[in-house]
């Protein structure tokens, strides 16, 4: 009998037995595209609005209402300032899913007379894609632009796709899986020249990279608190007031709050927190993005210098500083997550999804199912440290090596079998 790779105990160094370097608290959170922890300064800003200053911002006749309104208006200014807008152009919502819905459905209904064509891209968030799909049922025509291998849309493609019935282009600023930054300024310029409204889901970009609605010719932009160290359930929509003035049909009718575009009593603590989060981001973005990119590159080098056949998904050049999305060939993503269970990250593997479909974003880049299956998204954030990065790098490397010993695909590849040629039984 000949055996190989059969050590008596192939797992002599898994999580439980590994010494944890000092200064690290487990589990480590490195999934900052899913959500970010709140910054303590944000919490501090919010706290008074739960108890002492509990008023309704729409109450015009007493100091309780005035205090709440003051907080709301300060937040509006802070958000506007971060993106180069004016405060009257900020509408508060419950988060980016609502903002995306309001932007797309609101524009579609308002400009229906003008045309019925909408352009988006295949790598958008579901909040955009499913909203567009919904509109298709009501007579709208939607073009889902493909992306190139690096994850970017092709501007010539976009140019060709705009026709005289196009009313809206909706393309995200930064992708939530691969962190790829779309050429927003170029898209904005093109839309402006063609008289088409441009919406961007800027959730992942705002507070991380500069976004300026005027320099970039953005007409409508979605924002959410919980991706920039603010609270969940608090979001905003930027809606341009002049050159051109954009109008929306509201999704929610009622008391006429938010200039009629979004009725409902405002979530004052959440709004105060969102504003504070934007103010902090404005102040700290230059140093912070430099630090994030440094940590990200450190993790990348730590992994890539020690493992062969690992592939970065999406452009490295046009990318959020805190994002790293890597495929580890021959290792399935869920099993890798299990091996590094003291680290919170996510995977594009089919095995991790309820539908057993690998990530549609990775597939759109032309990544094969096998590599989509092997992908891990690292989302580095404000509170990660160099020591954590080094720990994560070590854990990933050792787990990948262990799982490759367990992988029939790795063995076959080493034997020179062309995996694409294999016919699977079963």
């Amino acid at each position: 009998m000949s055996t190989n790779g059969n050590k008596a105990n192939p797992t002599s160094h898994h999580a439980q037995q590994r010494a944890v370097p000092s200064g690290i608290k487990l589990p480590i959170y490195m999934d900052n595209h899913a959500t970010t922890p709140m910054d303590p300064r944000v919490l501090e800003e919010m706290l008074p609005y739960f108890m002492e200053k509990f008023g309704n911002a729409a109450s015009r006749n007493h100091p309780f209402g005035w205090a709440a309104e003051e907080a709301v208006e300060l937040s509006r200014e802070r958000i506007a300032k971060l993106i180069g807008a004016t405060s009257k152009e900020i509408i508060f919502t419950s988060g980016a899913t609502e903002s995306d819905n309001l932007a797309i459905k609101g524009v579609a209904e308002m400009y229906r007379e003008k045309g019925n064509h909408i352009i988006t891209a295949v790598t958008e968030h579901k909040a955009v894609l499913d909203t567009c799909k919904h509109l298709e049922k009501f007579g709208f025509r939607v073009t889902y632009l493909p992306v190139q291998k690096d994850g970017l849309v092709d501007l010539d493609d976009l140019k060709r796709t705009i026709d005289d019935k196009t009313i809206l282009v909706t393309i995200m600023a930064a992708n939530n899986e691969i962190g790829v930054l779309q050429p927003i300024a170029e898209i904005g310029k093109l839309c402006r020249e063609r008289g088409v409204i441009f919406h961007t889901d800027a959730v992942q970009a705002i507070g991380k990279v500069p976004v300026d609605v005027n320099k970039m010719n953005i007409d409508v932009a979605s924002i959410t608190g919980h991706k920039l160290y603010g609270p969940k359930g608090a979001g905003a929509l930027y809606v341009r007031r002049k050159n051109p003035r954009v109008q929306l049909v509201p999704l929610i009718d009622g008391g006429g709050h938010e200039r009629g575009m979004r009725s409902g009593t405002l979530n004052v603590p959440g709004i105060a927190g969102l504003g504070k989060a934007c103010a902090i981001a404005q102040e700290e973005m230059p140093q912070e993005s430099y630090k994030m990119a440094g940590l990200r590159n450190r993790l990348k080098d730590s992994i890539m210098s020690r493992l062969d056949e690992v592939y970065i998904n999406g452009s490295m050049e046009h990318r959020l500083p805190g994002n790293l999305n890597i495929s580890f060939a021959y290792v399935e993503g869920e099993s890798l997550l299990m091996g590094i269970n003291d680290i919170a990250v996510s995977s594009g593997s089919a095995c991790t999804s309820a539908t057993l479909e690998p990530s549609y974003v990775l597939k759109a880049l032309g990544t094969g199912d096998d590599l989509a299956h092997s992908s891990i998204r690292f989302g580095i954030g404000r509170f990660n440290t160099e020591a954590e990065i080094d720990y994560v790098g070590d854990r990933v490397v050792e787990t990948v090596l262990r799982l490759r010993e367990l992988s029939p695909l790795y063995e076959m590849a080493k034997e020179g079998v062309d995996l694409k040629s294999v016919k699977w039984a079963g």
Partner: protein
């Protein structure tokens, strides 16, 4: 996915990881893929041609924690069984033993398929090289 302790144990300490010589006449190799999610399992058995008892088993799996645990468990279960007894192992027993959630049932099916494929391969070899032994087994 939050898994049962048994799945986690098999994942952390997989039993019988490895490979045997595919060309050995007494070795049966099953290589199967799951159409649902693209995972791949290789399960090998070494059978005593006199007794038809599976004396050794090895596996390698590219797949989720449930797939790794299912195949690890399958190698434990087939060892010491005759080929015919091993063919009676059902994926539902694996599901029960490992307390797999509904979305992970296909991973256990893959393990059952791998056992069948390995035995099928061994039988084919027996027919080709030692027809007498196969007849004795049937």
């Amino acid at each position: 996915m939050s898994y049962s302790d048994k799945v986690i144990d098999h994942y952390n300490n997989p039993r019988n990881v490895g490979s045997m010589d595919k060309k050995d006449a007494d070795v049966g190799t099953g290589l199967v893929g799951a159409p649902e999610c693209g995972d791949v399992m290789k399960l090998q058995i070494k059978v005593n041609p006199q007794t038809n008892i599976i004396e050794d088993a090895k596996f390698k799996t590219f797949g989720c924690g449930s797939a790794i645990a299912s195949s690890s468990l399958a190698t434990e279960w087939v060892k010491g069984k005759t080929v015919d007894q091993a063919l009676e192992i059902k994926n539902t027993e694996i599901v029960k033993e490992l307390a797999l959630p509904p979305v992970k049932i296909h991973c256990s099916v893959l393990a059952e398929d791998a056992i069948r494929a390995a035995i099928g391969d061994w039988k084919k070899k027996q027919e080709a090289t030692k027809p007498a032994a196969v007849q004795a087994a049937q």
